[in-house]
Structure formats: C-alpha cells, structure tokens
Symmetry: D2
Subunit: 136 residues, 4 copies
C-alpha cells in the first residue's frame, strides 16, 4: 500500500503548538499528488501536459488527535470507489500506531478549461484499478 | 448575520486557475476567527491571554462551484448547535447569489496546555447564544 | 500614495507569537497585486488574459520590528526605478507610526510561456509613470 | 556540507506554472530548521523547550532561474559570520548544477518572550563553529 511520510515542521504549527488545520489539507493534497505519481500519472503530466485537474467535490475529515512539531506522520491512501468521473479515497494519517486523522475526499476528474467532470481516461482507470487490486 | 468578505488573490489560485482548496480552509479558519472577534472574544484574548483554543473535531465541506482569481466571496456563519464544549457551525461562501461551498466544522473548546475539551466559559456561551438568537 | 491595510491573523503567526516571515512575503506579493489593480492593470488581465508575469529578480528585506496577532499593518509602495523590463519598488509596512519592515523587490516583466524578460508594454509604462508622478 | 532536498509540488506553483516566491521562503525557513536539527539543536528544543527564537533581521535573495512543478532542488547552507547574537548564512538552491536562488538571511537569536537579541548560548555556538570548521 502507498504510504507518504511527512514531518511536522515549524511552518505547520500554530501559536497553540499544534498543527494549524489548513496545513493538514496541504498534506492531504500532497498525499493525493504523491499517490498519482506512484501509480504512474503525476501532476506534471496530468495537469500541465494533458490539461486535466482533480478538484474536490466533497471532503469529510475526522481529527482524532492533535499533532505537534517534529512528529512524523504516515499518510496512507485507500481507493474506496471509482466512478465514471469521480474517485473516492480514504486518507489516514498515523503517528506510530496512533491515528491522527481520517480524511474522505471525493475527487472529480475535470478538463481544466471547462471545470466540468469528464470521463476518467481508460489508461488512468487501469492504473487506479491496478492499485485497488493490490490494496488488500 | 455575520458576513466576512474576501477577494480571491493570486496566492489562492492553482496552476489550473481556480482556488487551491487548502486555501479555502485558511478562509474558513479566518471566518471563524473574524466571527469570534465579532461576538466579542477575539483570538488574541482567547488564545494568547486566556490559553484556550478551538481546534476542529470534524469538518465536512461541499464544494459546489469553483472560484477564480479576483472573485469576491461572502462568508456567512450560522451556529447550528452549542454543546458543553463544542460548537457546530455552518459556513457558506457565496459569489453574488451563487453558493461556492458549504463547510460544517465542529469546533472543540480546549485548554491549550492540555488539548482536552473543557466547558465553554459562561461569558462566551452568552455571547454565542446572543448571536444565535439574532440569526433568524 | 497607494496604501493597503492588512490585519495580522492567526494563520500568519508562529508558535513564538509573531509573524512567521514567509507570510510577510505573501503580504508583500499581495501589496504588489493590489497596486497593479490600483493603477489599472490587475493580475486577472495581466496574467490570465495577456499571459504576462512579474516574477522577482531580487528582493532585500529589512525586518525592523516584529508584528503580533491582530496588529493592523499599512503597506505603501514607492516606484524607485522603471527599466525597460524591470520595476524596482520600495514597500514599507507600518503599524501606526512604527516601521515594521522595508522590502525592496525588483520585478521583471516576462511572457509566461517564455519566462524571459520582455519590454514593458507602453500602456502599462504610462500607468506606472502616472503613479510615479503622483508619488511626491 | 548540509544539504536538504525538496521537490516542487503543486502547492508551490503559481498560475504561471513556476514557484510562487513566498513558497521559496517556506523552503528557506525549512532549510534553516533542518540545519539546526542537523547540528543538534532542533526547533522543538530551541523554541518550545528553551524559549528561544531565530527571527530574521534582514534577507537578500537573488532569484537566478525559475523552478517548475516536480523539479528537485538541493538546498545547501554556509555559515558566513557568527556574531554574539546573530548568524549570517548563505543558502543556495540548485536543480542539478543550475543555481536557482541564493538567499542571504541574517538570523538573530532572541528570547521569545522579549523579542530582543540575546547572546547565543555557548553550547549552540560550539555546534555552529563545529559546522563552520567542517564547511571547507
């Protein structure tokens, strides 16, 4: 299973000494970005070369425990559902065994000039399905 | 009703030309911050002087339509439920009449040295209830 | 003279309680963005419609005094030199009478597909010169 | 010599497709943070435990060439001068052999409750001097 490791840095931490939550969404976004690269369709190709984008339709996040400066978090990504133009994933961040957050974004595949959902291209669909099969 | 107006700036926009969603969470956070100031308990008092914090327990966001550079968004805040140590609000961002997003965060009132929920102080509870009564 | 007013918010402040300096550069960038809009050539036109950009060649910043949560800062902009493809400005941030920082960026006018300097268009040059004449 | 490697991600890139310069300052700050950890005095100890901070007095940056999505940058740090309460460093970012930027920050050692310069503690001074001796 895909795993991205990130350390909480000074820039991520608020005056109360814990992660400022908008920074978690940068980490969630970076996890999605790293995952697309991992399955073989990085953002440089997807967005800059091919003119696609993957904005969010919805997201739900459950913040289980706060994270502090220098904590190392492991982000994992599970594909939950693959629609004709949407991809629903679960992203879990753990510090050691402790779950820090679970995020459930629904990504929509769009042509960036139109910002309307388009069918996920077959070549990408196969990459995602390949990852899904390896999940278990 | 409380309303915060923000313009989408260059820093908020991704290479696809629309708001990079982690930036929406900074706007959502700033809306909460401005609202606390509006009801008379700003973050300088709450966090720096009194040692409280309002991290999120959960958040759900429904992204209805993308926003572009220079769009002016109006953020409104509705108190949906006031628990003994939690505050559930709805934040809606509109551009003109068009709804761009609806966010449903649940804030938890904590003592920052403990990061455990504490009872919302009566003085703050009264300010929030006062705002709630004026909502309709 | 052009002046942009900004309040220091929770997102701008580090665990030590003062502005995290990378956030100052967002404010400096936003001041430049607001100034271009002020003189009649906003980024939506310049960047998105016309395909220009204004990256920095160099910047020098003198941080005079720290800024804290809720401080209101006034950013002013002085055009110091207008070259064939570069614009040198002084940006000063004050809280009341107290100078907090002075930034001296040199902007380069580029075609974004080429990222090489191009001659500043005459229509823009006139707007900047018009602003310069009004500076004193 | 200390070297920190970072990849340019989607969050760092502006609508023109190159790094949005305020993000470079986060990378510069993170390089300083990683370097302090490297020499044995990380920010968790320095800032959170011991109550020190290292805000900037000044910074000069020379942006040599733009960076793009997915570029890998190597940040190196050279100690140029070590005063009684200030540390002057050169930070260079390269992509392969190509220099992308040179930043020259002057850090000031402060007690965070006072935000006034204090003498760099001897134990830290020795760590920095040790690093300096190994630079060549």
């Amino acid at each position: 299973m895909f795993r991205a490791r990130r350390q909480i840095r000074f820039a991520d931490v608020d005056p109360a000494g814990i992660v400022f939550y908008p920074r978690y969404f940068e980490m969630i976004n970076a996890t999605v970005e790293d995952w697309f690269e991992h399955i073989g369709y990085g953002f440089a190709d997807m967005i800059r070369r091919d003119g696609y984008g993957v904005p969010l339709a919805t997201i739900e996040v459950d913040f289980k425990r706060p994270s502090e400066l220098d904590d190392w978090l492991d982000f994992t990504l599970d594909v939950k559902a693959l629609g004709s133009s949407s991809i629903q994933v679960d992203i879990t961040a753990r510090c050691g065994e402790e779950i820090r957050l679970i995020a459930r974004p629904v990504l929509v595949f769009v042509k960036t000039e139109a910002t309307r959902p388009v069918r996920i291209p077959d070549a990408l669909r196969e990459k995602i399905e390949h990852y899904q099969r390896g999940q278990a």
